[in-house]
């Protein structure tokens, strides 16, 4: 299989070439549109879920367009279903391409997961087996996305709750191989790393060590909920509905100590609090980033 020739891709999209700034950003919510424009908080970027903006017109496009005039944008997909048994849907790629043309995001990211089967959209990020067959398939799908959209995408590590008997490699190895094969970058969700490692009895520091951290183009931080499995062991659930846990802040500091400041998103999709609360959390990340400096960010940029 031929890796994508990222270097040969069109260079017309200046925002994508520059990338997101190595600062803290917030997931943009409609209830905060007007406050963002009225107060213009000092944030590095905003991120939106691509599928929420796949509508013809109306206030979502109106406000996003205005906010985009003042901030870099990260376009985060939740419906491409890269891990599905069938190739990425071409009509969906067309919709993504139109959004990218319209809003000129500085980054496009998606998940190592599937969310569609046949005609059905399941609206969740579902797990894949980590074996050679899935690896080849995911690489083909990432190649197609990068070719169609003309960009280097970031692939996000998932939160998972089950594992597959047929898996032959661990998740970090799988991701590292996909990055190497396709030239995509990593969206390192530190919360997902903690959630998945806890749920599968693994050492999160070893997991992070096994990832190609130099390929991290963005970091996600979010809250999780705590439950237990059938044996009474902890089962953490990624719900994006609360503040970032102390243990995740610790892992985050450890990561940016090693690789320097990276664009960092505070994700909150459920029980969304006031904008002020989100901003305070982002500023907490910003202070940690400012203390590190740019680190080895050039190693990421050199891929572009």
């Amino acid at each position: 299989m031929q890796p994508s020739r990222i270097a040969d891709l069109p260079r017309s999209r200046s925002a994508l070439r520059v990338g997101l700034p190595a600062k803290a950003g917030i997931g943009l919510k409609p209830q905060h549109f007007q406050e963002v424009l009225a107060t213009r908080p000092e944030l590095g970027f905003f991120e939106v879920h691509a599928e929420n903006y796949m509508v013809d017109g109306g206030p979502l496009h109106h406000w996003l367009g205005r906010i985009r005039e003042h901030y870099p944008l990260s376009l985060h997909g939740v419906g491409l279903s890269l891990g599905a048994e069938v190739p990425p849907d071409e009509a969906h790629l067309d919709r993504l391409a139109r959004l990218i043309d319209r809003y000129q995001p500085a980054s496009f990211s998606e998940h190592l997961a599937w969310s569609t089967h046949g005609d059905v959209f399941l609206n969740d990020l579902l797990p894949v087996a980590y074996d050679s067959e899935t690896f080849a398939r995911v690489c083909r799908h990432v190649d197609r996305v990068q070719e169609r959209l003309g960009l280097r995408m970031l692939l996000e590590n998932p939160s998972t709750y089950v594992e597959f008997e047929r898996s032959t490699m661990d998740e970090a190895t799988f991701l590292a191989e996909v990055v190497q094969r396709t030239g995509c970058g990593l969206l390192l969700d530190v919360t997902n790393a903690h959630v998945s490692c806890t749920n599968h009895g693994r050492d999160v520091r070893a997991y992070l060590d096994a990832l190609p951290l130099e390929a991290v183009g963005e970091i996600h931080l979010a809250g999780y909920a705590e439950d237990t499995d059938a044996a009474g062991d902890p089962l953490l659930i990624d719900h994006h509905g609360s503040a970032v846990a102390e243990i995740v802040w610790g892992l985050y500091e450890n990561v940016i100590d090693r690789i320097g400041a990276r664009p960092t998103l505070l994700e909150r999709d459920n029980d969304v609090p006031s904008f002020g609360t989100l901003k305070a959390e982002a500023l907490q990340a910003q202070a940690l980033l400012a203390a590190r400096g740019p680190g080895c960010l050039h190693r990421v940029r050199s891929h572009l």
Binding site: M54, P59, H92
Partner: protein, 267 residues
């Protein structure tokens, strides 16, 4: 490259089916590091899928939910979600089929107005996300009005956000009563009501209208010629005032074009 049928064990078909069927057994091939029953873990995915889709419906249908209460709504929505999961990755399009489902949902039968309340709410969601469009220009309007025979044959092109709600129940008043905080004004539910739903600028409007205006707008929206729609409106509502109806819709910038086809209308 050798051709292999893509599959994960369990296949994604088995996994997907198990997510939507709470009674399905755990798909084969799953494991947990501590040897615990993976069904408990699969339940996290089951819950994510169904609850997130119910939440999406609750966002689209807030008044429908208020009328039956959250517990009833979520139970009804969970049946709907399992029978008619989304076919689009764009959740703004999900739930168009809920009003028809509610109409056939036996436990909701004591509230016969509920499907029309839901239709009104979905029309509002569609209007919110509809495309932008420029209204007809003064000049084009003046030209069309100056040629009555051509106008009679013309087809009206409406703003993509426009929808007509016609109900044997007072669903427009009922919906409006739920838009303000505090005590809800009692509504005489057995009165027929009609409304035009459309977006003007960034705002979605629900305009109560008389039966003739609703009929005229609905018929032209369905593609009937101007004069046929006006005659149908007068037939059901002798007091129908075509001038007032047009003036309301023009004032709301809802009319985009009067499309006049060459030659006499066929049939």
């Amino acid at each position: 490259m050798s051709i292999r049928l893509p599959s994960t064990v369990p296949s994604q078909a088995t996994f997907a089916a198990a997510l939507l069927d709470p009674l399905a057994p755990c798909p084969p091939g799953l494991r947990a590091w501590n040897g615990s029953d993976p069904l408990r873990r699969l339940a996290v995915y089951r819950n994510n899928v169904v609850s997130s889709l119910i939440d999406a419906l609750a966002d689209t249908y807030p008044v429908t939910q208020q009328l039956v209460g959250s517990e009833f709504f979520r139970a009804m929505a969970s049946v709907f979600v399992r029978h008619q999961p989304p076919e689009s990755r764009i959740l703004a399009h999900y739930g168009a089929a809920l009003p028809a489902f509610v109409a056939g949902f036996a436990p909701a039968a004591p509230l016969p107005f509920l499907p029309d309340v839901a239709r009104l709410e979905f029309a509002r969601l569609r209007a919110l996300h509809a495309g932008e469009a420029e209204p007809i220009s003064e000049a084009a309007l003046t030209r069309a009005l100056a040629d009555p025979p051509a106008l009679a044959r013309s087809h009206l092109v409406w703003h993509p956000s426009l929808a007509v709600i016609e109900s044997p129940h007072a669903v427009v008043s009922l919906w409006a009563a739920h838009q303000t905080e505090g005590e809800i004004t009692p509504v005489e539910i057995d009165c027929a009501e009609q409304a035009i739903v459309l977006r003007e600028g960034l705002d979605v409007l629900v305009l109560p209208v008389d039966p003739g205006t609703a009929c005229f707008t609905a018929r032209t929206l369905a593609g009937e010629a101007f004069s046929n729609a006006a005659e149908a409106a007068t037939a059901i509502d002798a007091s129908f005032d075509l001038g007032a109806a047009l003036s309301l819709l023009l004032q709301r910038r809802a009319l985009l074009e009067l499309r006049i086809h060459a030659g006499p209308a066929l049939g």
